[in-house]
């Protein structure tokens, strides 16, 4: 039985900080299949009020099973409830939920925000919650009015019957006493007044006046702030340390050893940082002592020529590659840091029977389990208060719970209420990167212009190996996230003889999913290769894709819309050139047309990106557009600047001066169009990323005739002789 069920309703509300007055609607919440599997076989339902509270003042508080990190889920999930509830939108507020099995992801079972799944995975659950609450309110109103529930209707926070009207606030207490309906009927989409309509973000007001609470802003009287001296190379261990000088820094209170290094605790961050600077630590080198990017790339290159684990196979690629025009190409992308704007941090308050954690995290269930292990407490004794996340991009969902577990270790070792703060340097140098990847492709072009044989080697680290998700994601030695976008590419499937094979070398570099995961490199490689093939076949790149994708209507719809809106058929402004790409990821289909110019000195400028997405229903259309803009800028950062490199076992980059990200003066105009679609709902947070790099690289080819096969793009590669 879960901790919160054992706590009972009052305990649960108290634990989750929800006992703040006002009345609650005590209905029971339907379970999605996977979450149901976690509940005891007695069929006892989870605690009431898990997702929604209606106050006596008519306020509607929606509890979010997913973390707000910029993607807009703070607004999207309340929209789903408000729609079915017929709520007054101006009275709707949101709050992150606590950690409890009832909030498990409807597909994965545990609490996670990731994979661009939050909206589509909650589409039914949150609407059902709204519909259940509405049914209860109608019952309460019918009893009050002395009419049948069928004779009541609901509108903007009121139940209305002939000549009678009652607000949800005044009905809430009575509604809570009715048994929860066993079945609810959801609205016909034609009756939606919120879903599908552009809705302003609920979190904007507090994000424009500094009151939004991020993990970094957590403060309690008596709290200390800690920074941790970590191994300068990955996996190094403390041999010995001398804390004398650090302890002499005014404000420094304590120095403790934890598994990841030495923590300096002080009254505030600046003192802790000063203390760390004079702390003496003797490190034992870890297994990556000689790590070197140039050498690594050489090893990846060699590996690509040897047989890897097959990820997709049809016919006999080797034999078929003997005929036709042969195109051979090697593509390369570097390691990348996520670099969210808010450096990592976590606050922990540990007592004998409770561990409280405040942090912006994407992976609460795992964090809870890890904290329980460290402290010897039961998982239900670990409470997590999820704050706003100052960006995530995958970095705040670590299967090792690195930044959460370290803070728990510091609290345990020091016995203090402590906030552990990472500096930007700690973040950039601290690992958990998107792995570098090298692709080698050999493609035969048939006389009809179609690729007739394709052999494709992929080399890069597995992010799933060694994690709790390995069993689900690694099959026959192939990490699905290393090959997604190639092995399941609509192009590849049509090639009669093909082989996609994978090498997953172990380098000792900690790696992690990074916005759009495998698609962050496979989209680039595949859409550039298709461009190369179009050129070899002497066809227009858009027309060529239309030919190859003729049986893939959603790819086509996105492609056609982006191409049309970009003015593809008309010549661009003098000196400007266009490139196109289309890629499916996370269930959505995105096409982008980049318009660029390249100066004689090799200066690349991306002027405009025209984007089209088919994500099925866009619950909040402007939210989808915001995510396309965000993904495009994030991807362009990687195209123009992103690169983590190693020399002598050390990360060479430290901060935004040598790990630059895109700035205002480099930001292109972005125009996003949403394909009207009844297709299955996909994600929005990540799918804008993959088509950007190839669209830009293909535009550069159009501008210069130079085929750039590695990222980031450097001016010296583009200099015209």
């Amino acid at each position: 039985m879960s901790g919160n069920q054992r706590l009972g309703r009052r305990g649960f509300l108290k634990a989750s900080g929800l006992l703040t007055g006002g009345l609650v609607v005590g209905f029971q919440v339907p379970l999605a299949k996977r979450a149901a599997a976690q509940t005891p076989p007695t069929g006892k339902l989870p605690p009431p009020n898990a997702f929604l509270r209606i106050g006596a003042d008519g306020s509607v508080l929606v509890l979010l099973a997913h973390s707000e990190m910029g993607q807009g889920i703070w607004t999207t999930l309340p929209m789903l409830i408000a729609e079915e509830l017929d709520a007054d939108w101006s009275k709707v507020k949101a709050q992150h939920c606590p950690v409890a099995p009832v909030y498990g992801h409807t597909a994965f079972g545990f609490q996670i925000t990731g994979g661009s799944t939050s909206t589509h995975s909650e589409f039914d659950r949150y609407r059902q919650v709204g519909a259940m609450a509405r049914a209860l309110l109608v019952q309460a109103a019918a009893a009050k009015f002395g009419v049948k529930p069928e004779d009541c209707r609901t509108e903007k926070g009121f139940v209305i019957s002939v000549g009678k009207k009652a607000g949800y606030g005044e009905l809430a207490e009575a509604a809570a006493k009715f048994p929860a309906p066993e079945k609810v009927t959801l609205k016909d989409p034609k009756d939606w007044r919120i879903i599908g309509k552009t809705t302003k973000r609920l979190d904007s007001p507090e994000k424009v006046n500094g009151t939004a609470q991020f993990g970094m802003d957590v403060h309690f009287p008596g709290m200390l702030t800690a920074v941790v001296a970590r191994s300068p190379g990955f996996g190094g261990k403390v041999k010995s340390y001398d804390a004398k000088a650090a302890l002499a820094v005014p404000g420094v209170r304590q120095v403790v050893q934890v598994p990841s290094g030495i923590a300096v605790l002080a009254d505030h961050y600046w003192a802790a940082k000063q203390g760390r600077e004079v702390l003496k630590v003797d490190w034992e080198e870890g297994p990556t002592a000689g790590l070197d990017s140039v050498k690594l790339r050489g090893e990846f290159h060699k590996l690509a020529a040897t047989p890897g684990m097959p990820a997709a196979k049809a016919g006999d690629a080797d034999a078929a590659l003997g005929k036709g025009t042969i195109l051979e190409a090697e593509y390369f992308v570097p390691y990348l840091a996520h670099a969210p704007m808010e450096p990592l941090n976590c606050t922990v308050k540990l007592s004998e029977d409770k561990c409280e954690i405040w942090s912006g995290t994407q992976l609460q269930t795992v964090d809870q389990g890890v904290a329980a292990q460290i402290t010897g407490l039961k998982p239900e004794q670990v409470e997590i208060h999820t704050t706003f996340l100052g960006g995530g991009f995958g970095r705040r969902a670590t299967p090792t719970s690195d930044f959460i577990s370290e803070a728990v270790q510091v609290a345990k070792a020091s016995g203090k209420l402590v906030k552990v703060v990472w500096s930007r340097e700690d973040d950039i140098r601290g690992g958990y990167y998107r792995s570098s990847f090298l692709h080698q492709a050999k493609v035969a072009l048939g006389s009809d212009g179609h690729p007739s044989a394709w052999k494709h080697a992929i080399v890069g680290q597995s992010i799933m190996a060694g994690t709790m998700m390995e069993a689900m994601m690694v099959k026959d030695g192939v990490d699905a996230t290393s090959v997604e976008g190639v092995s399941d590419s609509p192009y590849m499937k049509e090639v009669p003889d093909h082989l996609v094979h994978l090498h997953s070398p172990k380098t000792g570099v900690p790696v992690l999913w990074w916005r759009s995961v495998g698609h962050s490199h496979t989209g680039f490689v595949m859409e550039c290769l298709i461009d190369e093939l179009a050129h070899a076949a002497k066809q227009d790149p858009a027309e060529y894709r239309r030919m190859l994708l003729k049986d893939h209507p959603r790819h086509l719809a996105a492609l056609n819309l982006a191409v049309e809106k970009s003015g593809w058929d008309k010549p661009p402004e003098e000196g400007h050139f266009r490139g196109v790409a289309v890629h499916e990821s996370f269930g959505s289909y995105v096409a982008e047309v980049a318009e660029v110019s390249v100066s004689k000195e090799g200066q690349l400028k991306v002027h405009k990106v025209t984007c089209a997405i088919d994500c099925g229903l866009a619950v909040n259309p402007d939210g989808v557009k915001a995510q396309m803009e965000s993904g495009i800028i994030f991807a362009l950062s990687a195209v123009l600047h992103g690169e983590i490199t190693f020399a002598d076992g050390r990360v060479k980059q430290r901060n935004f001066h040598d790990y630059p990200v895109l700035r205002m003066n480099e930001a292109p105009l972005i125009e996003t169009h949403i394909v009207p679609s009844t297709g299955k709902m996909g994600g929005a947070g990540e799918c804008g990323v993959p088509p950007l790099a190839p669209a830009v690289a293909n535009a550069i080819f159009a501008a210069t005739g130079k085929r750039l096969r590695e990222l980031p793009i450097r001016a010296d590669q583009l200099k015209q002789a």
Partner: protein, 155 residues
């Protein structure tokens, strides 16, 4: 003891004069709207006004603020009434929101200096502020919108 005037209120703080103003604001005065992003004046998340000028508080020693007016995002307006805050909400600018205090503080100085800024003015004034969520286009639109609103108000 250092006496600071922050958002028109006087504070006495115990801090070494070399302590960056950012940490005095955040950790001693608990004005956490001003953000830590890089610690080396690269990202602009810590932007505040010192006697009306935009400065990066992460590299500004607290001693420099003595005898000057410090304005943080908390002191920019009452009730989100600054035209930039209104425009930011209208354009749905924020995503994660972490950089937006600094963005708005930079933009406020720009608008004061150039009430009707061009795109080039915006590039010049705002390129010191990083937004990792990539809200640049909306920031640009919101600055133009705020300029329009201010113009209307002046009539």
């Amino acid at each position: 003891m250092i006496t600071l005037t922050v958002n028109r209120k006087k504070h006495d703080v115990e801090a070494d004069p070399s302590t960056p103003l950012l940490w005095v604001l955040r950790d001693l005065l608990h004005l956490t709207g001003t953000k830590f992003g890089c610690g080396m004046a690269q990202c602009g998340a810590c932007t505040i006004h010192l006697d009306g000028e935009a400065v990066r508080s992460c590299v500004t020693p607290v001693s420099r603020a003595e005898g000057k007016q410090v304005t943080t995002i908390e002191g920019l307006s009452e009730g989100n009434s600054h035209p930039l805050q209104v425009a930011w909400i209208e354009e749905d600018v924020p995503q994660c929101g972490y950089c937006q205090s600094g963005q708005i503080m930079s933009a406020a100085v720009l608008l004061r200096e150039k009430p009707v800024p061009t795109d080039e003015d915006i590039d010049m004034a705002m390129s010191g502020n990083i937004c990792r969520c990539g809200t640049y286009q909306r920031i640009r639109c919101a600055i133009h919108r705020a300029a329009e609103m201010s113009k209307g108000g002046a009539k």
